[in-house]
Point group: C2
């Protein structure tokens, strides 16, 4: 420790003076847990971890860091998969962990005001307590913070009905790198008074400003759902079933997830991570969920499915008859969170492709990866929003480098007019691939925006642009 | 004409060379109809009207104008109410009228690619032709262009269910003032690859760039609706009815419009613009519409309303039993578009206030305007989104100036944390009032963004910031 004390960053004393002993971690052993996120990217131990408790403290801390030229990595729950919260050498971390809690809930206005460090699950539970719902949902809900989901514009399993995080943010308070506070904590659904600044910060992964508080838009709680797992001949059937579900259920279609046999057989077979609710094997598996708050909802869902079974468009299917069965169906889909030990090292692609092209894109990917000699890749995704999660094994038996695999996959994304990240964000990992889905003019505009808000490049350096 | 020819702007010859004779109007008589919009703000006759037919021509035209320092006012259907398309002295107009038409519709993906100059109604009709809907709807649908609705982030009568225009834009092609084309014509619902540039331009009223093409997100068509007009004791009842409707109908609540007696009595009585579907007089009138695509929808709506009638929360009500009756109910609300001759000169406020405060805000407004000696003001609004349209007569019998009225009303907006424009936009009219609902830091950030994209201030000068 003594060694650390003597070489410690000149900003530390000023930060200690402002944030107090409880507001700053400098012990390298304690700092080490803030080095990285869930992306697997190696992170450097931060110079210090700043733990402010209010917006003014964030603003002052950023001013001090700026004066000393100390780069800052904002961190929420560190559950990101793209390295957006990973520390580079010589960075300090600004953790929002002490700025946590629900500030106010207004059930009539269906709004909630929260500190950025509040876990997503806390937000969801507080909404449910008043008969409402915060509909953004992701597997890491227990650790992910609302600020992190705003910074990454989190998606998840209910985007087909509710949209991304962006759609649920009414107001934001943001601190700019120079300590300027943008107080945009409005709760108005309609507000066209000038440029809508909040949209700049949503999804900018902490590179333009630090979100400190937010006003969230809640939705009426879903009283009941119907959930089914369907075995289908192939992707084209899934696509026409999706179109039929959209026509039939409109805004009540909550989820339309697809799992290819590569994923299904691995999860339900070899890796034994879940039990297949279906007996036979199929060309693709679809998880369909609808919400219905009226008496004939379940019957309507069964009628819709029965029609498709009779017409042979659905080869086999089960409808959950209990909460336990609903969980069992979802457990196959959610097993993707547990594949690591069985699958070993792999690249977790988060691609976006127009839904109508997704089936052929997967075939093209398989063919190209086959030519590279790739041993194994798993395919699953949110078919309803064209979001493909492609997991490609990169173990030591792999005949080619991870970079070669990425070159091939992102090359195809470019060719098929897709995106290199649908929901996980750019972070450090996809920064080099951004040009596969953005034009030089778009990248230049992004760099200009970064230069405008963070001219010294001190906020989350090395991320996004 | 000869006089005009000799003094014409030095940019004209270059523009003629690029756009051709059909692409440029220079005759002052023809230019005059492009001077202003529906705001009532006087406009100057533009130096010329540029009428490009494609994106490259827009880019080249902007480059020529920039070289010659000629300011440009982008124009769609000129139906705006805030003076966003009004010409200042020495401005040229860039009209999108020849860049009109639907480029492609994809019913399965529920997307539509359109030129910015396409009328909103054309977009709606093309969507309906494939069983879908483009749900943004405003009274001026026949003339308003999709580009204009994007530039102003148009709202309308179905925001409570479908949100503003922003929510329906998947991709945008935008030309920056220096001629740079940002090709963001992606159709992906989920795409987190870097800063989401399109949101900067949506609602920026043509001050940062010119929208040339867009990919729109369509929604499943609403098969049937239930529409009712209700007489209620007062605003608080309306608010609790809104909360009940939200709980009961969730995402199926399409509209919840409120009309105060000031408006109702003027429109149905004195001005004879519509016929009241109700016999008696009430404290406030609510128009409620729900969508239902299933068999029990109508019964559910009638049941919900019957319960509130029985409990005395609804004093009187009618449910439309035919399309004609639905139209009759809406005609009272839509009569606001026809009040001009009967009401005479007036200020058309477009305020946004948290819904729970709206009732008391109207009372505070009335009291303050009463103290000014204001003769007449009409109140109506989208209660569901806290959007109040307040029409204050300013005829020559008015004892105070329009500025005095605006000072009082926008002062109250400031006090009640509202917005000076919920949906109409800032334009020229509300620019001086922007500080009533935006902090100095927010305004500074807007000015910085304007400076970044339009350093010479040549795009829609005098608007927004």
């Amino acid at each position: 420790m003594r060694g650390t004390m003597t070489t410690r960053h000149p900003a530390i004393d000023d930060l200690l003076g402002r944030l107090g002993v409880g507001g700053l971690i400098v012990d390298p052993a304690d700092c080490a847990r803030h080095a990285a996120d869930l992306s697997g990217e190696p992170g450097a131990v931060p110079v210090a971890v700043l733990r402010p408790t209010d917006t003014d403290a964030v603003a002052d801390a950023l001013r001090i860091c700026r004066r000393h030229g100390l780069p800052i990595v904002p961190q929420g729950g560190r559950t990101g998969l793209s390295g957006g919260a990973v520390c580079l050498d010589g960075n300090a971390v600004l953790s929002l962990e002490r700025m946590s809690g629900v500030i106010a809930v207004d059930p009539d206005a269906m709004t909630m005001c929260v500190w950025a460090g509040t876990p997503l699950q806390t937000v969801q539970e507080r909404a449910r307590a008043v008969g409402l719902d915060y509909p953004v949902d992701i597997g890491s809900r227990g650790s992910a913070t609302i600020g992190g989901t705003i910074a990454t514009n989190a998606g998840g399993i209910r985007v087909v009905r509710h949209g991304m995080t962006r759609q649920h943010i009414l107001g934001l308070e943001v601190v700019l790198p120079d300590g300027t506070v943008l107080d945009g904590l409005g709760e108005l659904l309609k507000d066209n008074a000038g440029y809508d600044l909040k949209h700049l910060f949503i999804g900018s992964e902490g590179t333009l400003g630090i979100v400190t508080r937010a006003i969230l838009r809640l939705v009426p709680a879903t009283v009941r759902t119907s959930t089914a797992l369907l075995g289908l001949a192939g992707f084209d059937t899934a696509l026409s079933l999706l179109a039929s579900a959209r026509r039939h259920f409109g805004a009540d279609l909550v989820a339309f997830e697809g799992m290819w046999p590569s994923y299904w057989d691995f999860v339900c077979g070899e890796a034994r991570l879940a039990r297949s609710p279906l007996a036979g094997r199929h060309g693709i598996y679809a998880l369909v969920e609808t919400a219905h708050d009226r008496s004939d909802g379940e019957a309507a869902f069964e009628g819709w499915l029965g029609e498709h079974l009779q017409a042979g468009r659905v080869e086999d299917g089960v409808i959950a008859q209990s909460l336990a069965e609903t969980r069992a169906i979802w457990s196959v889909r959610e097993a993707v969170g547990d594949v690591d030990p069985a699958l070993g090292p792999h690249i977790n692609f988060d691609l976006g492709i127009a839904p109508r092209l997704l089936g052929r894109f997967v075939e093209a990917c398989d063919a190209a990866l086959g030519r590279l000699g790739v041993r194994r890749s798993l395919h699953l995704g949110h078919i309803g929003d064209g979001n493909l999660h492609l997991l490609v094994a990169t173990g030591h038996e792999q005949p080619c480098s991870a970079h070669a695999i990425e070159t091939v996959v992102y090359g195809l994304v470019d060719e098929w007019s897709g995106t290199v990240t649908a929901e996980h964000g750019v972070g450090t990992i996809k920064r080099q691939w951004l040009a596969r889905c953005r034009t030089e003019n778009q990248l230049a505009a992004m760099r200009q925006l970064k230069g405008l808000f963070d001219p010294d490049g001190l906020l989350n350096p090395g991320k996004v642009v």
